[in-house]
């Protein structure tokens, strides 16, 4: 997994295509030929990434919206964003 810290700036991959479904965002990567479905919190993170943000900013936004410990949110966000980076769904600026 790529190294991530709170100051790492993340942006959506520009070549990715997305569409909104009922409660779900479907993404498609033509380079990899893969589809990705994002629901609930994952969908919210994707929405927040409409403009590039640092991992810290993402955690702060989610902290306001979800009742969870800051440490838990940071650990989960890093893990999820790491997966998105691996799949080239987002890029680290």
């Amino acid at each position: 997994m790529p190294h991530l810290n709170l100051s790492t700036r993340i942006a959506r991959c520009s070549t990715l295509l997305s569409t909104d479904l009922d409660g779900e965002v479907v993404l498609m990567s033509i380079e990899r030929g893969n589809y990705y479905g994002l629901e609930r919190t994952a969908r919210r993170i994707w929405e927040l990434l409409e403009t590039p943000k640092t991992v810290g900013d993402l955690c702060a936004c989610l902290g306001k919206e979800y009742a969870a410990q800051r440490e838990t949110i940071e650990a989960d966000v890093k893990k999820f964003v790491g997966k998105l980076l691996e799949e080239a769904v987002v890029t680290a600026l």
Partner: protein, 465 residues
């Protein structure tokens, strides 16, 4: 360049010389059947006289409750009360989801069903429709990715004029979401001067021709591009792209040249990229022309009708004025009448049919919707239908084109276009361009050999849309 990208077409049963008497007898039998049909005044003859199709249903109330519900769902913003009332009449929800899938409107039906609530739609039907919507969304994304790739790698670098019509851009602009409108392929109108170069470029990049033939050489490919109505190619991702050099192959029924349309394109945003598309007036008239040709037999086309009419850029008077100019006002009025008949409960209007053409169109539409069968021209093109079927098909298309157009110049142009050489003629006997006039004389021979099963040279087509 790889010209061997198609697959060789072979008839399953090759005929031998000693079978010719039997085949001749079969052909004579076919002719006798055509003669009997003349005597019994077939549908196309009634169509010619403007009579209603005797097989057709008299009105919307003759449709099954499931089909009536689906027709109500074809509106982008239906009246909830109308939709709820139609839903209460439904007896088989599995039939609803099956028909929604068949008519390519599963995403739209699911959207409306979610709004109606679980007390109206059973869970299993909602789940099936949701699955259909997800499939459609994935396919739409793939098609969007494909369109982007073609535009970025093949069209813009070569400065080729093009526009996208129907399909994705229609969904994006008029439905507000391309994933709500299912489409089987990507339709592109290409500058005729660049069609061959583009096709060759695509084949060199791993695309495959949809044509059932193996291209013999460059001349063959050039003839394929110039003489066919469109060139179908499958991308390496398996997406079908239809490259058209004009919106109507005859060039008389929709008498607008591609170059004129390129000057009037309007940008449509799709996944952040702008693509040139037809202005609403031209698109609506083209949709009326294309869908009426297929008797509006897919609910998707009815949904298109509503989506465009409901859009802010739709101006009825402007559309009618332009249709009058093109000689297609009868066709457009008939389509508007069909829309009013289908949604009279929503729209609160009941108007008499403007003419017999409109009455026939409505009857045929309701008939094919209810019967859930493809119109004869589709079946014949796909499956092949022997001499009798082909005769009926040609007669039906001729009568439709003749009646749809009100300008004599266009009608005469259409008559002349029948004599124009086609790619099927070229496959039958490849001749240099300067001798193409000879195909007029050779064509009856080709038809005869085809009907006898001795030589198959027709061009493959897929089921619309």
């Amino acid at each position: 360049m790889d010209f061997c990208s198609g697959w060789e077409y072979r008839r399953a049963s090759e005929k031998r010389w000693f079978e010719i008497p039997i085949l001749a007898w079969e052909f004579a039998d076919e002719l006798a059947m055509i003669k009997r049909d003349f005597a019994n005044a077939p549908i196309w003859a009634r169509h010619l006289r403007g009579e209603a199709n005797p097989m057709a249903h008299a009105g919307l109330h003759q449709l099954s409750p499931e089909m009536r519900f689906l027709v109500a769902c074809c509106r982008l913003r239906p009246h909830v009360d109308v939709l709820r009332a139609a839903a209460k009449q439904v007896t088989s929800w599995s039939e609803v989801s099956r028909l929604a899938s068949h008519h390519l409107i599963a995403p739209l039906v699911h959207l409306h069903c979610v709004g109606l609530g679980e007390d109206v739609i059973p869970g299993y039907a909602a789940a099936a429709l949701s699955l259909g919507r997800k499939d459609a969304a994935r396919k739409s994304l793939l098609q969007q990715a494909q369109l982007r790739q073609i535009a970025e790698k093949h069209l813009r670098p070569r400065n080729i004029s093009y526009l996208a019509f129907k399909g994705l851009t229609l969904g994006a602009r008029y439905y507000g979401d391309p994933a709500l409108r299912q489409c089987r392929d990507i339709d592109l109108l290409i500058d005729p001067a660049h069609l061959y170069d583009l096709t060759a470029d695509l084949l060199g990049s791993g695309y495959r021709l949809r044509s059932p033939y193996t291209m013999r050489d460059e001349d063959d490919l050039r003839a394929h591009c110039e003489m066919n109505g469109d060139v179908g190619v499958f991308s390496p991702l398996g997406v079908l792209i239809e490259l058209h050099h004009r919106l109507d192959f005859t060039g008389c029924q929709y008498p607008v040249e591609a170059r004129q349309l390129f000057e009037r394109v309007e940008p449509v945003l799709l996944s952040g990229d702008a693509y040139p598309a037809l202005p609403t007036v031209e698109l609506f008239i083209y949709i009326c022309y294309h869908n009426s040709k297929h008797q509006w037999s897919r609910l998707l086309w009815i949904a298109d009708l509503d989506a465009i009419i409901s859009h802010e850029t739709f101006d009825r008077e402007m559309v009618l004025a332009r249709a009058e100019e093109l000689g297609l006002s009868r066709l457009v009025r008939a389509a508007l009448f069909l829309y009013e008949i289908l949604y009279s409960a929503d729209l609160g209007i009941t108007q008499p049919a403007p003419d017999a053409f409109a009455r026939v169109l409505v009857n045929e539409c309701l008939f094919y919707l209810q019967e859930e069968s493809a119109p004869p021209e589709v079946v014949n093109k796909v499956l092949g239908a022997g001499a009798r079927g082909m005769f009926e098909l040609r007669a039906k298309i001729f009568v439709y084109n003749w009646r749809a157009n009100t300008r004599w110049a266009n009608r005469l142009c259409y008559l002349l276009s029948i004599a124009r050489s086609t790619y099927a003629d070229y496959r039958f006997l490849p001749l240099p361009r300067r001798y193409h006039f000879a195909y007029c004389i050779l064509r009856p021979l080709r038809w005869m050999l085809e009907s006898l099963g001795l030589k198959r040279v027709g061009v493959g087509h897929s089921v619309p849309p």
